[in-house]
């Protein structure tokens, strides 16, 4: 028998596996064909080019109800990316802070952080999203409350309005030369980075310590401010104001975005905190002791000895947390945030009835994101791999 002959066993087995796979795929495909034929349907993506007919409230690019379903999907993709990126940034800050503070000597802070981590890790993110959304929509005042002389609510600094439809903030308007100021600002950020790199190099090469904090602060503010005033204040703020039913002008951050963003941040932040803590604890105590016996101060021990080694442990799980944020952002549908699941997988699917096509496209999108992030991750892992000699 072919299965008992070790020379052929592997081939026989693979052959059987392949046959099973083909049979399974054929079975499913045949069912699909039969069912579609019975229902008189077909698989076609032409609906993507027809007018969508519905409106989307948060539009990063121009879109109206006459745009195509494809464009609606792109709007959804951009909205997914917006909330994912925002949540990744805040989750990282929260997570790193909580992770480091949990190891702090300060008893009460360490306990509080432990409570934070356990409370948020052990309750489903969907519940957090819904709680935050409920608070925003149910307990904040409606724009109406800001109206008239006996208004029950008022704007913060005359610039921020917290309503149950979202938070309205001033929006910078770029006048002529505005982009130049922004360019200067970006350039000074790069400058700070280069300066810090140079300082580290000096420290390692010559052992000279250069203060970096105040020069960085100066670089951060001064060039941009100078450019701003020299060019005659080209950037103005557009303040939100109550007109008609809603606040007009300014930037509206909708309740659905805030709920999703906050919930994903605090939830994932708890996981990142655990990763950070594990990473720091993975650096053996001997390392910090050795650094201390060399006479380094605690902060320098952290910056120069512990963190560089801990990052090697922290970054891979950190990236998979980012991946989780992106995938969890699909819960947007629970609060009506118009991400890709809300547009392509929600309204487009409903209005066209093209369930198979829409779900396939939806999966393909998330798959592409996941695979590209893990490719980058693998490249990074190879780059930081300890060179063993």
């Amino acid at each position: 028998m072919l299965l008992s002959d070790t020379r052929y066993r592997s081939y026989t087995f693979q052959f059987i596996a392949l046959l099973c796979l083909i049979a399974a795929v054929a079975f499913l495909a045949r069912n699909l064909m039969n069912n579609l034929e019975a229902a008189g349907l077909n698989i076609s993506y032409s609906f993507l080019n027809s007018a969508s007919g519905y409106d989307i409230n948060q539009r990063p690019i121009a879109y109206d109800s006459q745009s195509t379903h494809l464009r609606a999907a792109i709007v959804g993709i951009l909205n997914t990316l917006i909330v994912a990126v925002l949540a990744c940034v805040t989750a990282t800050f929260l997570g790193v802070a909580a992770g480091v503070l949990r190891l702090s000597n300060n008893w009460i802070v360490a306990r509080l952080m432990a409570i934070y981590v356990e409370a948020f890790r052990n309750i489903p993110v969907l519940i957090w999203i819904l709680i935050i959304f409920s608070i925003l929509t149910m307990s904040l005042p409606a724009p109406n409350a800001f109206r008239g002389d006996d208004a029950t609510s008022s704007m913060l600094f005359r610039a921020f309005a917290f309503t149950n439809r979202g938070i309205y903030t001033p929006l910078p308007i770029m006048g002529p030369g505005g982009w130049l100021v922004a360019g200067v600002f970006v350039a000074s950020l790069i400058g700070i980075w280069l300066f810090r790199k140079w300082a580290t190099k000096k420290l390692f090469d010559e052992g000279r310590m250069i203060a970096t904090f105040w020069p960085s602060v100066a670089l951060f503010f001064i060039p941009a401010l100078i450019a701003f005033f020299v060019l005659g204040m080209p950037i103005t703020l557009d303040y939100p104001a109550l007109k008609g039913f809603n606040f007009q002008g300014g930037l509206q951050i909708r309740g659905s975005l805030i709920a999703l963003w906050l919930a994903l941040s605090v939830y994932t932040g708890a996981f990142i905190a655990e990763n950070v803590r594990a990473g720091i604890q993975a650096v053996s105590v001997g390392q910090s002791e050795a650094a201390a016996s060399l006479g380094l101060r605690p902060r320098r021990i952290m910056n120069l000895v512990v963190l560089p080694q801990a990052l090697r442990v922290i970054i891979p799980p950190l990236v998979s947390q980012y991946l989780n944020i992106t995938k969890n952002s699909s819960l947007a549908i629970a609060v009506g945030y118009m991400d890709i699941t809300g547009t392509l997988g929600g309204i487009t699917l409903n209005q066209t009835g093209r369930a198979i096509e829409c779900v396939l496209l939806l999966m393909a999108f998330y798959l592409v994101i996941s695979l590209s992030i893990s490719t980058v991750m693998n490249l990074y892992n190879n780059a930081i791999k300890l060179r063993e000699r």
């Binding site: 007919g53 519905y54 409106d55 409230n57 309204i347 409903n350 209005q351």
Partner: protein
């Protein structure tokens, strides 16, 4: 391990079902239950009451069909469906028919491959606003935030209406009628738009219904009706004529109370006789017995009775018959003749 149990049960049911032909009527008879798709809860149309029994205009249509086909008005498995899941459920055969306040449109009839068998409620899309807002016309809603149930025709009508009037709005998409009501009451949107009947039903559930008004504009035609899969015409006929039987019964004065008497012996009106099977063989033409319509009417009464019980002026919803009166009373309900 429960999966295997299910798979075992599945093979069994597969064996039983496999013998039967693919026709929906035979499936339903073999199963002994009618799977009927309804809303997840819309007062007056389909909503479980305190004891979990589904009540409403749509639920009554389901019961009528079950009574006609299975001789048991309670042999209905009500499958609650969201706007999102309804069409796939019907297309995939999970349900046999759907009576889920679904608007009859060309694309649903043709592209999605369904058959609308009739209209059990003539509706139109309206807006509800708080009285305090001081809005009297939908055209004053420029810049308003509008709560809208996604996946419905109302979403498309809304976009069309605002575009045609060249005014702007901000849509707040929500999944269910309940959530829309919550958001609207909390003031997260200025107005909620859906079918006028739905607005009346929703308003009836508010703590202070008098503080809210339905604006006069009806911005669309929303003929709501039961539908079945395309291609099984025999089954479509049964659902269509069960609905027509309810409408005709009202026209000819056959009620839940007198249907037994009228069906006992043939009366003076030949149309009633044919409807109730005391004359002719109309039931057999559809593959049913002659008492089918009697049972359908006995299930929850004729159309008028069902309407008054679930939506009428004496209910909290308090809708007048309006377009949904019989053609003899200036409405649009008009059953083709039973002959």
């Amino acid at each position: 391990m429960k999966k295997t149990v299910f798979l075992g049960a599945l093979t069994i049911s597969g064996l039983l079902a496999g013998a039967a032909a693919a026709a929906t009527l035979d499936d339903v008879k073999a199963r002994g239950k009618l799977n009927c798709g309804v809303t997840t809860g819309l007062t007056g149309f389909s909503e479980p009451d305190a004891s979990g029994r589904w009540e409403g205009l749509d639920a009554a249509v389901c019961r009528a069909v079950a009574a006609a086909v299975l001789s048991d008005a309670d042999a209905v498995e009500f499958v609650p469906l969201t706007a999102k899941t309804r069409f796939t459920s019907l297309a995939s055969g999970e349900i046999d028919m759907m009576a889920r306040v679904t608007t009859w449109t060309l694309s649903r009839d043709t592209d999605l491959k369904f058959d609308f068998v009739g209209i059990n409620y003539y509706d139109g899309q309206g807006f509800i606003v708080p009285k305090a807002l001081g809005v009297t016309s939908a055209k004053d809603l420029d810049g308003a935030t509008v709560c809208i149930q996604t996946g419905t025709t109302t979403e498309l009508n809304l976009a069309d209406f605002f575009r045609a009037n060249n005014i702007s709005y901000e849509p707040v998409p929500v999944e269910t009628d309940d959530e829309a009501a919550q958001q609207y009451l909390a003031g997260a949107c200025d107005t909620y738009t859906t079918d006028a009947s739905g607005l009346a039903a929703t308003r009836a559930g508010f703590p202070t219904p008098a503080d809210h008004v339905v604006l006069p504009e009806i911005i669309s035609k929303e003929p709501l009706g039961p539908l079945v899969r395309h291609g099984d015409n025999d089954w479509a006929d049964i659902v269509r004529w069960s609905l027509n039987a309810l409408i005709a019964a009202e026209e000819y004065g056959v009620t839940q109370a007198n249907v037994e008497d009228k069906a006992a012996s043939s009366g003076t009106n030949p149309e009633v006789n044919r409807l109730l099977g005391t004359e002719g063989e109309l039931g057999a033409m559809m593959g049913l017995d002659k008492d089918w319509a009697k049972r359908a009417i006995a299930a929850s009464g004729n159309y008028g009775e069902i309407f008054e019980r679930n939506l009428g002026v004496n209910t909290p919803i308090g809708l007048a018959r309006g377009l949904n009166a019989q053609w003899t009373n200036g409405g649009l309900l008009y059953s083709p003749p039973f002959r």
